[in-house]
């Protein structure tokens, strides 16, 4: 598996573990049809992008 794909797979796995842990802990707060489907978008794309922009300033 190429490095980029491996990194991507690891990122998804880490996001999944984080979601399950948060879900177990907070239950309805993240285990709902609004937060759930958007979680990977926020954790894997939007938050790293925002942090990257903040870091480059």
């Amino acid at each position: 598996m190429p490095d980029a794909r491996r990194r991507e797979a690891l990122a998804w796995a880490a996001a999944f573990v984080a979601y399950v842990a948060l879900g177990y802990w907070t239950k309805g707060l993240v285990l709902n049809w609004i937060v759930g489907p958007l979680f990977p978008l926020f954790v894997l794309v939007l938050i790293p992008r925002a942090l990257g922009r903040k870091g480059s300033r």
């Binding site: 998804w12 996001a15 999944f16 979601y19 399950v20 879900g23 177990y24 239950k27 309805g28 285990l31 049809w33 759930g36 489907p37 958007l38 979680f39 990977p40 978008l41 894997l44 794309v45 939007l46």
Partner: protein
């Protein structure tokens, strides 16, 4: 009710329908029966009756509700792929919910007899957490796992970036392009959005299963009509099997007749003025 199977089914359906249906339409169709009613179900005096019966919001789990939504969307957007997606998604939800004891009224209003195979008990009367714990202590949890395995074995290709590029976007080019323009998301972001439903289903399944085992500590009883630790069956009908078959058959015949009439009077006109995704227009093979 199913807690994660509805999410996994979408990818399986999409694999077979390809570019003829919109994935976003399919997802909304699948979510539609519970979208605005679920939070009220737990506050109701009789959750099973309110959720699936009549009087109540059980009509949202009927085939006619999917037809009405699909026609409304076809009228408003002219998009055939969205209309079909919503119809198939909503019907898939109805078919799946036959498995619990409350069942569904597929041919409402022509028959209000609930149809069920009683694979697991409808447990909304236990409250949201109790419902989740009961579901993941019964065959319901196994049903979710079954659909996850089906997705991995048969339809995992639908989660790939290439499939997203060659099928999901061409099936719905206007909406994905609009999302790209409005949100500034690139392919990676849109792909995360597309995969989000599968992620949500799997995450929800694992979290609630762990909660049932280590939080609520309910006994794991994945047997037909379980879990047996619940005292209530929440079966909405006292009718015998023959009575159910008779009423449902009659309702089904009347529904089929109504559907035919609706198609002739309204559907065919809306369909003709509808628009297919450009790739379907070019390689017309199905409609």
């Amino acid at each position: 009710m199913s807690w994660a199977a509805h999410e996994f089914e979408n990818y399986f359906i999409q694999k077979h329908a390809g570019i003829k249906i919109s994935f976003l339409g399919l997802a909304i169709g699948t979510l539609s029966p519970d979208l605005f009613t679920k939070s009220f179900v737990y506050r109701s005096d009789d959750p099973a009756m309110f959720h699936r019966g009549w009087p109540g919001v059980g009509f949202s789990h009927s085939l006619i509700f999917g037809v009405a939504l699909a026609l409304l969307v076809l009228w408003a957007t002219k998009s055939r792929s969205w209309s079909l997606g919503i119809l198939i998604g909503q019907w898939a939800h109805v078919a799946t919910d036959i498995a619990d004891t409350a069942g569904v009224m597929p041919f409402f209003p022509f028959s209000i007899e609930p149809v069920t195979i009683s694979m697991w008990r409808h447990a909304a009367s236990e409250g949201r957490y109790g419902d989740a714990a009961a579901y993941y202590s019964s065959l319901g949890g196994m049903w979710d796992l079954f659909w996850l395995v089906v997705l991995v074995l048969v339809a995992r290709r639908t989660l790939s970036a290439e499939y997203f590029r060659t099928t999901i976007v061409p099936a719905d080019p206007r909406v994905w392009a609009w999302l790209h323009r409005r949100t500034g998301l690139g392919e990676r972001g849109l792909l995360a959005l597309y995969r989000g439903l599968c992620f949500y289903g799997a995450g929800r399944m694992v979290s609630w299963f762990l909660y049932a085992r280590f939080g609520a500590r309910t006994p794991f009883q994945p047997l037909w009509n379980g879990p047996s630790y619940l005292t209530s069956y929440n079966d909405l009908s006292d009718a015998g099997p023959l009575e159910v078959v008779w009423r449902t058959t009659l309702g089904g015949i009347l529904f089929a007749g109504f559907l035919w009439l609706l198609w002739r009077l309204v559907g065919v006109r809306l369909w003709r003025r509808g628009i297919d995704p450009p790739l379907v227009e070019r390689n017309r093979t199905f409609f």
